[in-house]
């Protein structure tokens, strides 16, 4: 009745969650109970590096400057280092987001006034951010941070051209609508 794919999904998710619980139990047994649930982040605030520093990690300005030197070694070194910095930033940000959620969970888990819908919204937002972090991590890992910037520029240009096309379409459609409104 439930189907093979549903059975596989339910069984798989259940076994994965049990593994996570078992891992938590093992760390607790090793005396890491206090820290086992916490992400690798000491700061309660989520900003792990200055905000103005973030666009620079993904900026092409430094890359263009380095590529002008025409030194393959320097270019390779720059790519590698920039990628490492970008990946570290994603990891730190992800850990900080986990910390925010962990702090919230620990603070409210005993509250009698806990609201189901509010919590579901927070969990969904948390899931969205973790997915975003995962996608960023994969994108940087596979293509590098500079490609991400290029993709953003491309997406921006594409959305502008779509908006322009929409405006042009709306301008072309308006007289026809006015025409149909009149007497036939």
């Amino acid at each position: 009745m439930i189907g093979l794919s549903s059975a596989l999904l339910i069984g798989g998710v259940l076994l994965l969650l049990l593994l996570l619980l078992a891992a938590r139990g093992i760390s607790a047994a090793r005396g890491l109970a206090a820290k086992s649930d916490l992400p690798l982040c000491d700061d309660a605030d989520f900003v792990t590096c200055p905000q103005e520093f973030v666009p620079k990690i993904f900026s092409r300005v430094d890359w263009e400057f380095v590529s002008q030197t025409k030194s393959p070694k320097l270019v390779k070194l720059f790519r590698r280092e920039r990628k490492a910095v970008a990946l570290l930033w994603v990891r730190q940000t992800s850990a900080a987001i986990q910390w925010v959620m962990h702090e919230h969970a620990v603070a409210v888990r005993g509250s009698r006034d806990l609201e189901f819908l509010t919590e579901v919204k927070l969990v969904l937002r948390y899931g969205e951010l973790m997915l975003l972090c995962g996608a960023l991590f994969l994108a940087i890992q596979s293509a590098g941070p500079l490609w991400l910037s290029g993709l953003a520029v491309y997406a921006d240009a594409l959305s502008r051209s779509i908006a322009e096309a929409q405006q042009a379409f709306a301008a072309a459609a308006t007289p026809r609508e006015i025409h149909t409104l009149g007497p036939v």
């Binding site: 009745m1 259940l14 109970a33 666009p55 969970a105 509250s111 948390y126 953003a152």
Partner: protein
């Protein structure tokens, strides 16, 4: 030879678990789990006797006791919820709502299936019905395990053992019952062969975690947050929103 070893090892572990449960008074702390487990042991003995001396009644007795075991199993899930979340009324409330949602979704799904294919109820094999009920039970365990992880609920050694062993048993049952219909496939043969080993693993987990009593950790200080919940939720929402903006900076041209 190995299957014989697993069978005799399983019986030894079952007896050991019951003896330790009585000696360490764990049976009084987790009465539903031990009632369930005693029933499973009796079911094994009864099934063995009927199979040997009244073979024609074996299928009836087997499925009847299997459904009773499933009902007892639902009690075990309730006990995990009751013991694990007794000190966390907020999370217990979340669990109640989430479980109600799961049961409502399962009921709607079942009714929709019956509506689209009314013959299913007449033609469904016993394994199909058990598979569907076990899947709902597995979803209830998924909800509880996810809440334990999400809210960092401290779970004591005994309760963790019950949850891990029973979750493993239900998870593998869901998979194997679904693959029964696909008899002849390589995965079906693998699951049929592996099923006793998974049950043996569940028994090992139970014996290891329920050897002696280990109290469930209680939070050090109970913070009275009743009036502050909305403020805290709003603050968390704001912080996550900030994090979103922070991440967006990476891809903003």
């Amino acid at each position: 030879m190995l299957s014989q070893l697993i069978a005799w090892g399983g019986i030894t572990l079952e007896v050991l678990l019951l003896l330790r449960g009585l000696k360490g008074k764990l049976a009084f702390r987790y009465p539903v789990f031990y009632a369930y487990f005693s029933f499973v042991v009796l079911q094994d003995l009864l099934s063995f006797g009927v199979y040997r001396w009244y073979h024609q009644y074996y299928p009836t007795v087997y499925w009847l006791t299997e459904f009773l075991a499933l009902l007892f199993g639902c009690g075990v899930v309730f006990e995990i919820y009751r013991v694990g979340l007794s000190a966390f009324p907020g999370t217990a409330r979340m669990a109640r709502n989430a479980l109600a949602l799961v049961f409502a979704a399962a009921l709607t799904f079942g009714l929709a299936q019956a509506w689209t294919d009314p013959r299913w109820w007449m033609e469904a094999a016993t394994t199909d019905i058990e598979g569907a009920l076990r899947a709902v039970e597995a979803l209830a365990i998924v909800v509880l395990a996810a809440l334990f992880l999400l809210y960092s609920i401290p779970v004591g050694k005994n309760l963790r053992g019950i949850l891990l062993g029973y979750g493993l048993f239900v998870g593998t049952t869901v998979l194997s019952l679904e693959f029964v219909s696909g008899s002849g496939t390589a995965f079906h043969h693998f699951l049929s062969a592996a099923y006793p080993y998974f049950y043996f693993l569940s028994l090992t987990l139970w014996v290891a975690h329920l050897w002696s009593y280990a109290p469930n950790p209680v939070p050090a200080a109970s913070v009275r947050l009743e009036r502050e919940y909305q403020r805290m939720a709003a603050a968390t929402h704001r912080r996550l929103q900030d994090a979103r903006g922070y991440l967006a900076k990476a891809v903003r041209p």
